[in-house]
């Protein structure tokens, strides 16, 4: 009950903060960053169901997202945007029939058809269903293949799906490589993506902490044991793929609407790659972690731009020096915290030495023209991301959150897994024959457990 109220309170606070962001000026950059975090967060959380909770490496997620994007685009495209396609590839049939507006009016649901928001919800749902259907197909090989082989097959499926819109036979529906433009930009409004994310968080945490979620994790931990304990592997794997694909489709639809256009490059393999980086950063198997990882990656991409600005060369030298010295101090700090000896390893002196040399160079040659010359490094954002990933893999391989989820109990207790003094005493009493004459006959080992 307390936890429930706390959750409501924080959601309310988040909504309030969002509201103030939307009314204050000059925050559109932050708002679009948040929108991206929400959209990609949904995709990452859904990928996490397969890769983290079910423990199957799947690389075809961009395919599901693409299906969702295209379906949303086609269904939502307003009539005036459909007209120009006559001269392009989109066939008359597709233009006239793949139209949610017409479907709804045909069913006599004019009230829904008049509201673009209602149409958007329906379109997203259909997009999710289309992707889910595909999820069943892509998930099927997981019943027979394992590990790397399965990863390759899912990757292949993903790429086939991605390139499908370009195929001549299909281009009549998808407008081929030209893509579809002029999609209503509902998702550009932050409330859409915020609510969608809340819904997804609710759904996936409910799923994870249900019997089905436990079955998924059992399969991840030990497939043979899970099967021996009565878990139907085929059903649960396909179920996870289907659910995951559904929400991937929804996030694809949101993204297409955010961009107001979609083509086969919108969802290329780097999308899946990006999501994998995000969930590995955050912690495979953790919903909170998936969202956190996405936030890190998106923020680096959006706000890392200053790293690629032109600057005088000395800024580069100085930053290099600071980085090296920081690495030196950080490694010493970590070793100290872990009580390793010696606190400074000989090889770490290299960092310190390089840092010191760079610092000396910066100061000594500060006046030189080559120090004042303007330079610019492209790709620094990706470098930064790579460095973050490497650091995580060295110091916290299971990701920021590990498999754990955020929960109020974790922060303010009570922690059920940590024994209270009372429990500890009782445990020792039970397991120590000297304290417990009644058990003298057959005590056990638990003092060490």
């Amino acid at each position: 009950m307390r936890d429930y109220l706390l959750t409501l309170l924080s959601v309310g606070l988040a909504a309030l903060a969002l509201y103030f962001l939307t009314v204050s000026e000059g925050t559109s950059g932050l708002l679009s960053a948040l929108t991206l975090i929400f959209i990609w967060g949904i995709a990452a959380i859904s990928l996490n169901l397969i890769n983290g909770q079910l423990g199957i490496l799947s690389l075809g997620h961009h395919g599901f997202m693409l299906i969702g994007g295209y379906v949303t685009a086609l269904l939502m495209l307003p009539a005036r945007e459909r007209r120009p396609f006559r001269t392009r590839l989109l066939s008359d049939w597709a233009r006239n029939h793949l139209d949610l507006d017409k479907w709804l009016r045909g069913l006599g649901l004019d009230a829904l058809a008049n509201s673009i928001d209602a149409k958007f919800i329906i379109a997203l749902f259909i997009a999710g269903l289309a992707a889910a259907l595909l999820g069943i197909i892509v998930g099927a090989p997981s019943l027979r293949l394992k590990g790397d082989y399965l990863a390759i097959v899912t990757f292949g499926f993903g790429e086939i799906i991605r390139l499908l819109p370009n195929a001549p036979e299909v281009a009549a529906f998808t407008n081929g490589p030209l893509g579809i433009k002029g999609i209503p930009g509902n998702a550009g409004n932050i409330w859409w993506t915020f609510l969608a994310l809340l819904l997804v968080l609710w759904f996936f945490s409910r799923l994870k902490f249900s019997s089905y979620g436990r079955a998924f994790e059992g399969i991840r931990e030990d497939e043979i044991a899970a099967e021996a304990m009565g878990v139907n592997l085929a059903y649960h794997k396909i179920l996870a793929f289907t659910i995951s694909a559904f929400f991937a489709g929804v996030s694809g639809g949101l993204y297409a609407s955010y961009l107001q256009s979609v083509d086969t490059q919108t969802f290329n393999f780097f999308v899946t790659f990006f999501l994998l980086v995000a969930i590995s950063l955050g912690g495979l198997g953790s919903i909170t972690g998936a969202l956190l990882g996405t936030a890190i990656v998106v923020l680096v991409r959006v706000y890392g731009g200053f790293l690629e600005q032109p600057n005088p060369a000395w800024v580069g030298y100085l930053s290099g020096a600071v980085l090296m010295l920081a690495a030196f101090a950080f490694s010493a700090y970590i070793r100290k915290a872990r009580r390793l000896r010696p606190v400074i390893e000989p090889k770490h002196f290299i960092f310190g030495a390089v840092g010191a040399v760079l610092l000396v160079i910066t100061i000594a040659f500060f006046k030189q023209p080559w120090m004042q010359q303007t330079v610019q490094f492209f790709g620094m954002r990706k470098m930064l991301l790579a460095v973050i990933l490497i650091l995580i893999m060295i110091y916290r391989r299971e990701g920021v959150m590990g498999r754990a989820e955020f929960s109020w109990k974790l922060i303010i207790g009570p922690r059920e897994d940590i024994p209270t003094d009372e429990q500890r005493k009782q445990d020792a009493w039970l397991s120590n024959p000297d304290l417990n004459p009644g058990l003298k006959e057959d005590g056990d080992d638990d003092a060490s457990a």
Binding site: R214, A225, M229, I243, Q423
Partner: protein
């Protein structure tokens, strides 16, 4: 009608005849021990019963129904559960989760009902928790307070064995196949587990087939002992008769050169 009946089972791995012409009946409420030297085919026999392998020839009949050809999860649903010789717990999950997963196949609610937490699902979930605690209570209170929420990897080896047995019971099976339940336990713990296995039958109503190397455990609780050697059943009967059987002694100690 016997609970479990094996009729002339054969199983070969390539050229190796791991099981040949083994027949066995297990009646309800019995504790049957399967013994034999290393590599005799004891674990293979369990794998055949539980559907991990399919027998090359022969029939496996459980409660009057032929079960060879079923997958392991189907066999478990019929009412046979096992433990593994080398523990196969869900290591990163809590003890409670480990004992809830085997009850999942009995869940009637769909996944959507589980997400929506319908009243029926909530009831089923509570029922599952109750059964989990009931199964754990066989082993005393040690796994039931804070350890319930600890991940399995922090448990002691003996506690992991106990968790695995509780997990097998939680499937709702009638027949438990225990593959070396006392492996890695010290004499004190072995003595305790002997009592507990007997209580499985007396209080839990389980029928038990047991693979074990510790002869004092086998002698103490078995109603019947079956001896395998190179995949062949070489003896069956009372513990005292079996261990004095010259063929069994030969299997374990080898033939004396004349």
């Amino acid at each position: 009608m016997p609970l479990l009946e094996l009729r002339n089972i054969y199983k070969a791995f390539g050229g190796l005849q791991a099981i040949s012409n083994v027949s066995l009946t297990v009646n309800e409420g019995e504790i049957v021990s399967v013994i034999g030297p290393n590599g005799a085919g004891k674990s293979t026999l369990f794998n055949l019963i539980t559907g991990v392998y399919k027998p090359d020839r022969g029939d496996i009949i459980f409660q009057g129904e032929r079960i060879n050809g079923l997958t392991p999860d189907q066999v478990t649903k019929k009412g046979i559960a096992r433990t593994f010789q080398n523990l196969r717990l869900f290591t990163h999950l809590s003890v409670l989760d480990n004992i809830l997963i085997p009850q999942h196949h009995r869940l009637k609610s769909s996944w959507l009902a589980a997400v929506l937490r319908t009243p029926r699902y909530v009831r089923e979930e509570e029922e599952m928790k109750k059964i989990a605690l009931e199964k754990l209570s066989f082993f005393g209170p040690r796994l039931m307070s804070f350890r319930l929420h600890q991940p399995v990897y922090v448990l002691s080896y003996a506690n992991r064995r106990r968790t695995e047995m509780a997990r097998a019971m939680a499937t709702g099976a009638k027949l438990l196949l225990l593959d070396e339940p006392s492996a890695g336990m010290n004499p004190k713990e072995t003595k305790e587990i002997t009592q507990i296995i007997r209580r499985f039958r007396d209080e839990g109503g389980y029928t038990i087939v047991l693979v074990e190397h510790k002869m004092n455990l086998v002698g103490e609780i078995s109603d019947r002992v079956v001896v395998l050697d190179y995949g062949v059943k070489i003896a069956e009967g009372d513990y005292k008769d079996v261990v004095n059987d010259p063929q069994v002694i030969e299997a374990y100690l080898g033939r004396r050169e004349e």
